[in-house]
Symmetry: C2
Subunit: 481 residues, 2 copies
C-alpha cells in the first residue's frame, strides 16, 4: 500500500508546484462538504482525488443519512423528535466509549444541517418508507437503527432518523454525490483528479503546511496556507492494517468500500503525530432482515442458543455475531414465515421437527430443542422475557418443515467497513495522543473515529462525513480568511 | 497525565546533561533484561526509573513466566514439550491477529532463555504444582493457560508452561525482580531513580537521539548514542486512554498495575512516529477457579445460558464474559461442590430447585432451568457436547440448595491490565504505520503489543518483557559497540 506516514520535512521541499488556502484530500461526501464550506468561508480551496472522479465510497452507499431532532421530513411524516431524544439514543447506542462532544454538537445542529444539504441540491422526498438499512424505492424516512428495539426503545423516544436521498434503486448514494459534486463544481474550488496524496509536509514547529502528491508519474509539492483536510476514507481495503487492528473483519466477505479505502489518510495523519483510536471497530452488516418476516425467525449460534434480540439493528446483530459467536450463526424459520431472503443465502439444514433440525445441523442433542421450545412457549404469549424482541416479531415457529438459514461468515454475505480512525476535535482538528491540536491538520469522515465509536446505526457515516466535513472546512479556512 | 507525545526536536536542545550508549526507560522486568543485555554487549547503559526503585508491575506480579519447548523443569517433572507444540498452542490461543515472527522466535529460543534467567540468579524449584494462574507455594511448574481445554487440547499436545519463580506466597514477582535487580546492580549499568522521562529527543532525520527527563524538579537532556528502549509498562492507570481505546475495561474493579502504567511510554513512542496496535486488548482475569472444584460449576449469563467451557483459562473466560456478556455472569453451584471461593464473592441467590434459583435471580422462566437440565443430562454421561468442558470437571449439579455466585463486574473482583501497545519488530525496533523502523527507538514489555495479541495465558507478559527486553537491549547496543 506504499508509505504514507513518512512525512516530508518542509526544509526538504525545494519549491511548491501549487498552493491554496485549504487542501482537501479525497472527494467523497466528507471532502465535498469540507470544500463547500471552505470556499464559502472565502478560502482558495484545492481538492485532490486519487480516482478519476469524485464520489468515493459515499457514491456506492445507500445514500441514507442519519438525521433527526425534528427535521421537516420527520414532521411531515408525523414523527416527533427532538435533539434531546436523539442525543439519548446516540449516547446509549454508539458506545461504549462515545465521543460525547461530537454527539452533542451533531444533535443540536442536525436540523440546520438538513436544510444545508437541501440547499446544496440534495433531494429528499417527504415520505415515510418503514424500517431498514436501505430504501429500495425513492422514499425517504426509515428506522435505520435499533430505536424500536430493546433496550433503546426504553432509553429514548423512538423516531425514524434514516433520511435516504431521493432516487429509485438502492444506491441512492450516487444521487447524493452527484448533487454534492455539482455544488462543488459551482463553488469555485479547484478539483484535481488522478492525484494520489503520498504524505504530508510538516514544518519545524510540527505544523502541517502542505502535501506531497503523485500526478502523472511525477511528484508535486502543494502548499496549504491554512490547513490540510484528510477525508480519504477508512482502511478495510488494507489487508495488513485489518490484520493488525481488526483481524476478525477478514472473515467478512464483502467490503463496503472503494479502492481508496486503504488507510492512507489515517496513516498520513498518524505520521504527522495524530492519534488513531477505536481501530478495532467496524460496521458489520449481517443482512438477514429482508424480507422483514425473517425477523420472526430465531437467530442461534453453534450451541443452538439465541444470543440477541433478532429485531436489534442488523449491524448490532452482526457485531454480536462476529465478535461473540465467531461469525457462526443460523436463522431458524418455519414454513409459515420462510421467504427467500435478500441477499440470498444457503439453507444449512431442514427438519420436520426441532429434533431433526438439530441433528441435521450437528448440534448437541437437546440444545436447539430447548432454545426453540422456550422461545415458542413465550412467543405464544407474545413475550420474550429472555432477549426482549418486540411483539410484532414474536410468532411461535410451529409449521414444519423447519429450516436453518446459513448465516455463517463462510457462506453468507457479511458486509463491513471500518469505523476507527484519527481522533479529532468536533471542529475537525486532528489531535495527538496528548490531546494537543496538530496545527494545520484536519480530518473528517471514515478517516476519523466519529459519532459511532462502536454500535452502529445506518446513516451515521454519511452524517459524520457531511456534518463534520463541513466543520473541518470552516476550521481549516479560518486562519487565512 | 501530562504530555509525552510532544517530542523535542534536537535543534532545541541546548546541551546534554548526561549521555550513554543506551538509555532504558523503566526498570521492570523488561527494562532490567534490556539493561543486562545492553551492558553485556559492551554498551554504556543508563537506566531511568520514575519510582524510587526498580520493580514496576513485574514486582507486583505472581512471578509466573510462560516458558516451554522442553525446559529442564518440564523434563524433570516428566512433561514432554517441544518448540513446535508450544508454537502451535500460542498461534491458536494468542489470536486472532498474532505476531507470528515473535511467536516463532520465542518458541525456538525459549529453553536458552530459561537458562539465561537461571544464570541471572532467578530461582526455580524443580517441582510441578498443578494448574492455575499462580502458585501459592514455592513450586514451579503449572498449567497457566487453556492447554488442556477445548479446543486447544486438540490443536497442540498439552504441556504445563507456567514457570513460577521460587518463593512462598503468591507474589513471586518480587523475588524475580529482586534477583534481576541484583544482577543489574552488578552489571555496570547506571541506574537513576526518581527520574520521570517526559519525552523523546528526535533529530532532523527523525532518529531518536535522547530523552528529556525530570529529576528533582529540573529538566535534564540525556543523550543516547545508540538507542532509547521504552519499557515503561501499559496504560491501565490512564483513565482517558482506557476510555479512548478500551472502554469496557473501566468496568473491572482491580488493576494489575503500578502507578507508572499510565501509557506514557506508549505515547512517547507514538510521538516519535511509532504505531500503537491492538489497543483494545487486555488480560481480563475473572478469578473463579480457586478452589478448583468451582470449575465444576456452571457459568451463565443474564439469559441463564452458558457461553463458554468453564475450564477454559480464567482470562479466556474473563474476555468472553466481559465483551460477550457485558460482565454480567454467575457461577451456579450445588451444595456438593460449593466451597468459599478465593477471592471471595457474594452469593446472588439460593434455591432448593433450579426453578427457585432462576426466580430468585430474576431470570426468565425456563431459561436457567433448561440450561441446567441439559447440562446435567450430559454431565451424567461425562459429556459436554455443547461447550466441551473436560470430563474431570463434569459433575451433575444435584444436591440442593443450589446457589448463584455473583461474578458480575459490579460485585466480583475482575483484574485487568492492558495488552495493546507499540508495534515492534522481534528485535525490539519500534515500527511506524508504514512498517518502517524508527532509528534509535526500541521497546519491550507491556509498552508493546506482544506475544498475546488477544487471548491470554498467564506468564506471557513476563515472557514478553524478559525475552524481548533482552533482544531490545542487544539491538540498541549494536550500532555503538
Amino acid at each position: 500500500m506504499g508509505r504514507a506516514a513518512a512525512i516530508k520535512p518542509l526544509r526538504e521541499v525545494q519549491g511548491w508546484e501549487d498552493e491554496a488556502d485549504v487542501i482537501v484530500v479525497g472527494l467523497g461526501a466528507a471532502g465535498a462538504c469540507a470544500a463547500l464550506e471552505a470556499t464559502s468561508a472565502g478560502a482558495d480551496t484545492l481538492v485532490l482525488e486519487r480516482a478519476s472522479g469524485g464520489g468515493g465510497t459515499s457514491a456506492l452507499s445507500t445514500g441514507q443519512i442519519y438525521l433527526g431532532g425534528g427535521t421537516p421530513i420527520q414532521e411531515k411524516c408525523g414523527f416527533e423528535d427532538s435533539p434531546e431524544e436523539m442525543y439519548k439514543y446516540l449516547m446509549a447506542s454508539c458506545g461504549p466509549g462515545v465521543d460525547e462532544p461530537k454527539i452533542r454538537l451533531f444533535c443540536d445542529h442536525c436540523v440546520e444541517h438538513f436544510h444545508w444539504l437541501v440547499a446544496q441540491g440534495v433531494p429528499f422526498k417527504e415520505t415515510y418508507y418503514g424500517d431498514g438499512s436501505y430504501t429500495p424505492t425513492d422514499d425517504c424516512l426509515s428506522y435505520s437503527g435499533s430505536e424500536l428495539a430493546h433496550p433503546y426503545r426504553d432509553v429514548a423516544k423512538p423516531a425514524p432518523r434514516g433520511h435516504t436521498v431521493q432516487q429509485e434503486t438502492i444506491e441512492a448514494g450516487a444521487m447524493l454525490m452527484r448533487r454534492l459534486l455539482e455544488s462543488v463544481d459551482g463553488c469555485g474550488a479547484r478539483i484535481q483528479v488522478d492525484t494520489l496524496c503520498e504524505t504530508l509536509v510538516v514544518d519545524e514547529q510540527r505544523r502541517v503546511v502542505g502535501v506531497v502528491a503523485r500526478v502523472d508519474g511525477s511528484t508535486r509539492h502543494l502548499r496549504a496556507r491554512g490547513g490540510v483536510i484528510l477525508t480519504a476514507g477508512g482502511f478495510i481495503n488494507n489487508t495488513e492494517m485489518v490484520e493488525r487492528y481488526a483481524p476478525m473483519l477478514r472473515k467478512c466477505k464483502m467490503r463496503l468500500a472503494c479502492d481508496g479505502d486503504d488507510g492512507r489518510g489515517i496513516r498520513m495523519g498518524m505520521g504527522a503525530g495524530g492519534e488513531a483510536v477505536r481501530m478495532e471497530t467496524a460496521s458489520i452488516v449481517l443482512p438477514f432482515t429482508v424480507p422483514k418476516t425473517l425477523i420472526q425467525g430465531v437467530m442461534v449460534n453453534r450451541q443452538g442458543q439465541r444470543f440477541i434480540n433478532e429485531d436489534a439493528y442488523q449491524t448490532v446483530v452482526g457485531e454480536a455475531a462476529l465478535h461473540g459467536q465467531d461469525g457462526q450463526v443460523y436463522l431458524i424459520v418455519d414454513d409459515a414465515i420462510y421467504e427467500q431472503p435478500f441477499p440470498p443465502t444457503e439453507i444449512a439444514a431442514v427438519g420436520e421437527t426441532f429434533e431433526e433440525l438439530e441433528r441435521e445441523l450437528g448440534f448437541a442433542e437437546g440444545s436447539l430443542q430447548s432454545t426453540l421450545e422456550l422461545y415458542n412457549r413465550n412467543a405464544e404469549r407474545g413475550e420474550d422475557p429472555v432477549f426482549h424482541k418486540a411483539s410484532p416479531f414474536l410468532v411461535p415457529l410451529v409449521r414444519p418443515p423447519f429450516a436453518a438459514l446459513d448465516y455463517t461468515t463462510d457462506t453468507a454475505i457479511w458486509a463491513v467497513f471500518t469505523m476507527g480512525g484519527l481522533r479529532t476535535a468536533p471542529d475537525g482538528a486532528v489531535l495527538t495522543p496528548d490531546g494537543d491540536v496538530i496545527p494545520g491538520l484536519f480530518a473528517a469522515g471514515r478517516t476519523t473515529s466519529g459519532l459511532a465509536a462502536q454500535g452502529y446505526s445506518s446513516g451515521l457515516s454519511l452524517a459524520d462525513g457531511t456534518f463534520f466535513g463541513r466543520r473541518a472546512g470552516r476550521a481549516a479556512a479560518a486562519p487565512v480568511v
